[in-house]
Symmetry: C2
Subunit: 648 residues, 2 copies
């Protein structure tokens, strides 16, 4: 087969591409990342590349302006290689991983909470489910022929008052040599049962005394990013943390496009391998950073949404996206980590957070557990906003939950210059009321590349508060500034002129963008209100609101209320947990109490399918305004708008 | 590296051998089997081959007569390849697998017993531990979003009154597609718990109704031979059975030489792979013969001695052969069959019979279970004779057991013309008292190749009863016949002149052979008597004697008593179970009752280490005569000998 040489800049990565292969596929093989929101279908228009040398076939669609076409821009997913090429991936099309290796930290202005180690200790819940015991066994002799395993088990029973044990094949395989290396002085790793009355498993043995070296790994398997922490189970503290983009991004940005990819021949296997590879990469980094011996890692806990979990476990997710939206399972058994392909010892069991339904997954359950909501008497609403928003309301006695699809607006999708919360993203914004000139604040303080989700909310809230757009999201035609202009029949506001950007293009926000945002926030607001109504509560009944997730932690609460994403909440009641999924995975690594309760909590969670709740559509239509059809639901905002004569 | 071409006849198998490699190793690689009792150490002298073309270095030892050397005979394990070769493996050195594909059937003259299917049914114990249920689940709809697994489990709970379930990852992976193939009509395979109150595991699901197709495989993992049966779990009947030599034979004939091989670098891995390969070959034959779909095999049960079990599970057996003879474990957890490398479905759990000690293994426990001894009120003695003899005495309330090393005489080792019970082996014998001419009966009725274990007993008993040898096993020098001759200072009796044989050599029995037999039978007799004495019983207290094992099932009871292998037992009390290990594996595939009891029975079995029981040596020395120092222990025999004036 004829093939061509393709060089990807700025990565300097070269690959041989078969004649006719798409540039997106070639980039994937070269390891040159290109944003491909729609999974290569030519729909999202994100995978813009510049052909610097050579020619491709196709790649021109209505997603590219005439100007861009002339500059050599093409859509990578629609361009076929027909000769040798040099291709530049422009910054806005490349995934920026500069923010990956830190935790998602919540906004400094907000109260941050998590059920932390001290609280665990105070409540007597710091009991890692995996424990090590150093034992000096009596050696066998002519009057004592006990088999090695029986010797170990009997000693634990007699000397330590332990009861019943399960011993798996990996330990039996290790025991003859290990037990004799230091004259029957060994350390046994005991995995405590989740259910009372069950057997403790002896999952590992090591010669000598290693009882002070016992570690766990906690992983948040996000659709976009995967975070992993290495925890010291003696002190309870994290020793290292890393984040990486989920390698599946190259196969589609959201869960639906991943599911579609998984339905292709070999797709499920591929996506499974890719997420395992991402996690293994993180494990490698954790081990190198911390200097911990991989054999001392005793357990791994993973949390993710239902689709991510099914892909992680190689379970066909096809029916998650098809009515009536049924997952294969919501409870997952403990699984040998090596069976999944994880680079951990044979003794390590992978524990996977259970889900509630197709769209309320283990990441949300992890947040409910990790935030301590599961044992709090306070009536709490837990909200995780991303492409989907998941909402849980309840207290230690009951829970109701729902999910709604917000669309990708908060993660940059459907927004002309939308991007993830990475370097160069406008994340905060203000405007001079007289000149209408903007002030853009970007992540990393570099010239802007685009608009993050929180930036989008900030921009729209500001434009609305100042009357630059109206409650329908339309620009006031009476304002005169070159920043407001019409472009192909669509009004837009220029946030940054092209010579002030990192991307050499004017960065704008259009009425279409605003409309997409309104629909996204409307979906979440109506989900929030519908769920409360279904359980007979109002916003004022809530003792506490927990915002979770990458976006939830960045959002400016007041501005989120201004656009009507959230109802008017008492800011004192709102707390931010950052990455709730990672927190839950970590907490259940530190406390068997959490692990013991998680299944019960999951069972208590009543799931509402909003699409089948008749009042949802009513709420939704009413929410398709800034902030809402009924301004009286936002009395403080109403007051402010009144004071500026923007409403009567 | 220089290499040579070696052709093995009669197999017509050719292999490239590295310069200097032994012929034994080359034969192994070529797949040409050569008996190698001592594992290639040049000790046993069994691996005789004839160099038909070319030359080797070495290969000549005192194990070969001058005559043989001149004929081109060499020991394969001592011969190094230094050029291209044509090598013939003579019949007596090749393993004869002609008897493999049938069960070990007991002598027709003996009563045969096993706890058969009718008895199981009569006792209401025919309850295979793996059961299939056909279910018509309600499909999900807009008001029913139950996850697939929850749907299955809830239905079983509500409609079938089942209680708690474990569902493993393989089932979760299968369920989305399987459940929808025939509109939520499925068959679930349920593995019942061994312990009351534990959860039932759902190990497989299949679309449609397959509830009448449910199969099990039972395997006896013998040191020499491996037998496997395919069982229909609906009717309880065996559909196919095959036997094969254990592939490990090429690495040493007995457990000790296998352990030594396993201690070499890579040796354990190799022996593990080889036994798995043997079992997979048997599985393949069972599937082809029966026409059963491999996906319908729901369970596999394996029984073997402690060393075979550890090699099967890839557990280092080194400490089994070293004082104080400690195995790694005697209880083995259920193991995923695919994890062991068995060619069975992902849903299949391998159940491995527990052992009692290093030398009383799962094969013996299987015999105790399968023969029904475990639930019988009768005081029973179970005896399995092979290279080792294992003895169990007791009834449903208690068991004592012991093992003694008989040496390889009963399997042909240490006997000049000894061989296994294969075609051409003399298995029965009589003699004309006046002419002293023999009558040899061989397996397969072909000219003799050698002497089987039962043949050996028959020959020695006959020679003794007729006064041809005395109670010390020495030939009467006063008898005149060309058949009794001296050869290098050792007297021998010619059983077959060379032109009457299949091997073109005189087949003889020598005083050394007889001496080896006396030591072997002495070990077993004294083990038998010592164990009885330790528990305060005598032979007359026994209600029942069960003889098990390939040798035990062929032996002529009266002749075994004549040589003093067994005490004078009432023949009515003696039953033969054939392959007790296979029978036990089969029975626990058919009855969860047996499975539930096996661990408890194993725990009840008190193991006596005969080497540390002071009276054992006393019994042994007294037993080194035909039949015994104290002829009064054999009153009937004494009477017969008296009637022939052989004793006073």
């Amino acid at each position: 087969m004829k093939s061509h040489s393709v060089l990807f800049l700025p990565y300097e990565k070269k690959v041989k591409a078969v004649h006719g292969e798409t540039l997106l596929r070639a980039a994937l093989e070269a390891g040159a990342h290109i944003n491909a929101s729609c999974g290569g279908g030519g729909v999202c228009g994100k995978c813009r590349v510049i052909i610097e040398q050579g020619n491709v076939e196709g790649g021109i669609t209505e997603k590219l302006s005439v100007e861009d076409r002339e500059k050599g821009y093409r859509l990578a997913c629609q361009s076929k290689t027909i000769g040798d090429l040099t291709v530049r991936v422009p910054v806005e099309s490349a995934i920026d991983s500069s923010i990956m290796d830190m935790a998602i930290t919540a906004r400094k202005t907000a109260r941050i909470t998590e059920m932390n180690l001290n609280e665990l200790k105070k409540q007597n819940l710091f009991m890692p489910p995996v424990e090590k015991k150093y034992l000096e066994l009596p050696p066998p002799d002519k009057n004592d022929h006990l088999p090695d395993v029986t010797r170990l088990v009997s000693f634990l029973q007699l000397e330590h008052g332990e009861r019943r044990f399960l011993v798996g094949l990996p330990v039996i395989r290790k025991i003859p040599e290990t037990i004799r290396k230091e004259n029957f002085k060994i350390t046994a790793t005991l995995a405590r049962p989740v259910h009372e009355g069950r057997k403790t498993r002896i999952i590992n043995i090591q010669h000598g005394d290693t009882s002070m070296r016992n570690y766990a790994i906690a992983v948040d398997v996000g659709t976009t990013t995967v975070y992993a922490q290495l925890l010291d189970l003696i002190s309870g503290t994290p020793l290292a943390q890393f984040g990486e983009f989920n390698g599946q991004i190259s196969y589609g940005e959201d869960v639906i496009s991943r599911i579609i990819y998984a339905e292709k021949p070999g797709g499920l296997e591929k996506l499974h391998q890719v997420i395992i590879k991402t996690i293994n990469s993180l494990i490698g980094k954790l081990i190198r950073k911390s200097g911990v011996d991989i054999d001392e890692v005793s357990t791994i806990t993973l949390a993710g949404n239902t689709t991510m979990t099914q892909l992680l476990l190689k379970i066909n997710p096809a029916y998650i996206r098809r009515s009536p939206y049924v997952p294969a399972a919501t409870l997952y058994p403990p699984i040998d980590a090596y069976f999944l392909g994880l680079n951990l010892g044979e003794h390590v069991t992978a524990l996977v957070y259970p889900a509630v339904s197709s769209y309320v997954g283990g990441d949300i359950v992890a947040g409910v557990m990790g935030s301590g909501m599961y044992q709090s008497p306070e009536l709490t609403l837990f909200l995780d906003i991303g492409t989907n928003a998941e909402i849980v309301v309840g207290n230690k006695d009951w829970f109701a939950c729902a999910a709604c699809s917000a669309g990708p607006a908060f993660e940059g999708g459907g927004i002309k210059f939308g991007m993830r919360a990475a370097k160069g993203a406008i994340e905060d914004f203000s405007i001079d009321p007289s000149t209408l000139e903007p002030m853009n604040l970007t992540i990393g303080n570099i010239p802007p590349k685009g608009i993050s989700g929180s930036g989008l909310i900030s921009i729209v809230a500001t434009l609305f508060e100042l009357g630059i757009i109206n409650s329908k999201g339309k620009f006031n035609p009476d304002l005169h500034t070159p920043r407001i202009r019409e472009n192909g029949g669509i009004f837009e506001y220029v946030l940054a002129w092209k010579d002030m950007t990192s991307i050499d293009r004017d960065i704008v926000i259009t009425e279409i963008d605003i409309d997409n945002l309104i629909r996204a926030k409307g979906a979440i607001y109506s989900g929030f209100m519908t769920l409360l109504a279904e359980v007979g509560l109002s916003v004022n009944d809530l003792d506490r609101i927990i915002l979770s997730g990458g976006f939830g932690s960045y959002v400016d609460l007041e501005k989120a209320i201004t656009i009507g994403l959230l109802p008017e909440l008492d800011a004192e009641k709102v707390t931010f947990v950052g990455n709730g999924s990672l927190m839950g995975a970590k907490m259940s690594s530190l406390s068997n109490h959490i692990r013991k309760n998680v299944v019960e909590v999951t069972r208590k969670m009543t799931n509402f399918e909003l699409s089948e709740t008749s009042s949802y559509m009513h709420h939704y239509v009413a929410a398709l305004f800034l902030p809402h059809t009924d301004i009286n639901q936002f009395p403080k905002l109403k007051q402010r708008l009144k004071s500026r004569n923007l409403i009567q």
